[in-house]
């Protein structure tokens, strides 16, 4: 935690891409503009503002969304394209700020110390950034500016879509206290419902509850709510993102019970997840596998590795074991996923006691493999364990074309 604010205070800009996936689809296809559009498979990943007017929301089941909004256009989506748009937008944001912490559809930009660069007018900087994003990508973004990440995010949330708002220094408390409870970061549908039952509807109302009440109600996150409803957030903008977890999951093109296909897909997802961890310089300590049966039920299981690892083989060995324990019914699978968590920063791992050279050889192997794939695309090398996917799935430079890739946000 960075408790020391620089003289003049910290300035954080929060940038949020409005209705991200759906907006890109509307951009790519002008016939979709002005129409309710949903991107998702099984559940809504993103929906246009036209669809939201019918009560559609992210996470909602598609069957429900179809009932709520007859005639809605539903698209599978293309994760690769969305990432390309996001990368372009965050590249533009880096022209405004030296420190940008980017997620899939939002970013925090630390503007502290850039007053001279922006002529002392951060609102104008926000307006310029919005205009630049619109010109270069055709997409609308909402920008909020405040003295902390939380205030900046709440500012942008309060003026979505296509809005721009700055909470002036010293005005944080009056701004926060009157807002509805669901505008507070960390308050989702479930938390909001519990608070509503207690007749707490504004952030000011939440301040009545003690830290003990909040931790009893919500566990550890209750502590954050206690601090946040008082406007306290000193979390700095972290350029190097250390995620809570890295997950990769997908649906099969057709439900399958073929062990080679299931295991091949799990290996491929593991390879992709572990490569991301290596790129971030992280070693995972916990591996989770989940499967989705065609009838119903999505069991998941996680376990700790003996030692933190960033090697495909070691993580897959555990993942395959978990898969064996999970897939116990003679029922085909609709989808599969894996997740890595409890990361150690690279270099903090444990050395192999009996054969330290083996570990070094493997590290060199994976480093070379990553370089080849960075240069020629992931499909340049297909591991034997996922060779069963060849011929079943199309390949492009990015890798196998999955039906519904779902990545860590």
């Amino acid at each position: 935690m960075d408790d020391e604010a620089p003289p003049g205070g910290r300035i954080i800009l929060h940038l949020d891409i409005d209705a991200f996936f759906a907006a890109i689809e509307q951009q790519r296809n002008p016939k979709l503009r002005g129409k309710p559009v949903i991107v998702g498979n099984g559940v809504i990943a993103s929906c246009s503002y036209e669809a939201r007017r019918f009560g559609c929301y992210a996470g909602q089941r598609l069957s429900e969304a179809r009932r709520a909004c007859p005639g809605v256009v539903i698209l599978d989506g293309c994760e690769k394209t969305y990432r390309a748009f996001a990368a372009r937008i965050f590249e533009l944001a880096r022209e405004f700020s030296p420190a940008v912490e980017a997620y899939l559809d939002e970013a925090y930009c630390d503007l502290t110390g850039t007053a001279r660069l922006h002529g002392g007018d951060f609102l104008l900087a926000g307006r310029r950034l919005k205009r630049l994003v619109r010109e270069r990508t055709g997409l609308d973004v909402t920008v909020g500016i405040g003295s902390s990440r939380m205030v900046a995010k709440m500012a942008s949330k309060s003026v979505k879509p296509d809005g721009l708002f700055q909470v002036a220094a010293g005005m944080e408390d009056p701004f926060i206290r009157a807002l509805p409870i669901d505008k507070l970061p960390g308050v989702g549908r479930a938390t909001s419902e519990v608070l509503r039952r207690l007749n707490i509807r504004t952030i000011e109302g939440l301040r009545v509850l003690s830290i003990d009440h909040l931790t009893t109600l919500f566990g550890e996150p209750g502590r954050f709510l206690y601090e946040r409803c008082r406007g306290r957030d000193t979390q700095p903008v972290i350029v190097r993102e250390v995620p809570q977890s890295i997950s990769r999951e997908t649906s099969f093109h057709e439900a399958t019970i073929d062990p080679a296909e299931i295991s091949g897909m799990l290996y491929y997802l593991t390879e992709r997840g572990v490569k991301t961890a290596r790129q971030l310089g992280l070693k995972a300590r916990t591996v989770q596998v989940k499967i989705r049966y065609t009838d119903s039920g999505s069991p998941a299981m996680s376990r700790r590795l003996c030692a933190a690892s960033d090697r495909d083989e070691e993580i897959f060995e555990l993942a395959r074991d978990l898969l064996g324990r999970l897939h116990t019914r003679r029922e085909s699978l609709h989808g599969i996923g894996m997740a890595l968590s409890h990361f150690l920063i690279d270099g903090a791992g444990q050395m192999d006691l009996f054969d330290p050279e083996r570990g070094q050889r493997l590290d060199r192997l994976y480093a070379s493999l990553d370089r080849v794939r960075d240069r020629f695309g992931h499909s340049a090398v297909v591991a034997g364990k996922s060779i069963s996917l060849m011929g079943r799935l199309e390949q492009d430079g990015y890798g196998f074309v999955l039906r519904t890739p779902s990545l860590t946000k």
Partner: protein, 84 residues
């Protein structure tokens, strides 16, 4: 709305002025399609090679996606989006 994959190499007449690329016309088989609007453009990479994507509407109203492989200077007609 239906997206059909084509993945065919096509000849494209494009404007390379001002540091950007704008496809103007492409030929698929013996038919020419004149581009009326470039709806969206984005960049991606295949390894170290830069790929440029264009969503374009032809003058006949059809919607296509073109890909330009900057490494080998090849154009690919990736998809056509059909109504219904």
């Amino acid at each position: 709305m239906r997206v059909e994959r084509i993945d065919e190499s096509v000849k494209v007449r494009a404007d390379f002025q001002g540091g950007g690329i704008t496809p103007l016309l492409f030929r698929r088989g013996s038919q020419d399609y004149r581009v009326s609007t470039v709806n969206a453009r984005w960049e991606d990479r295949e390894g170290m090679q830069k790929l440029l994507y264009f969503s374009v509407t032809a003058t006949n109203g059809d919607l296509f996606q073109l890909k330009f492989h900057a490494g080998d200077m090849l154009w690919t007609l990736e998809t056509v989006t059909l109504d219904g």
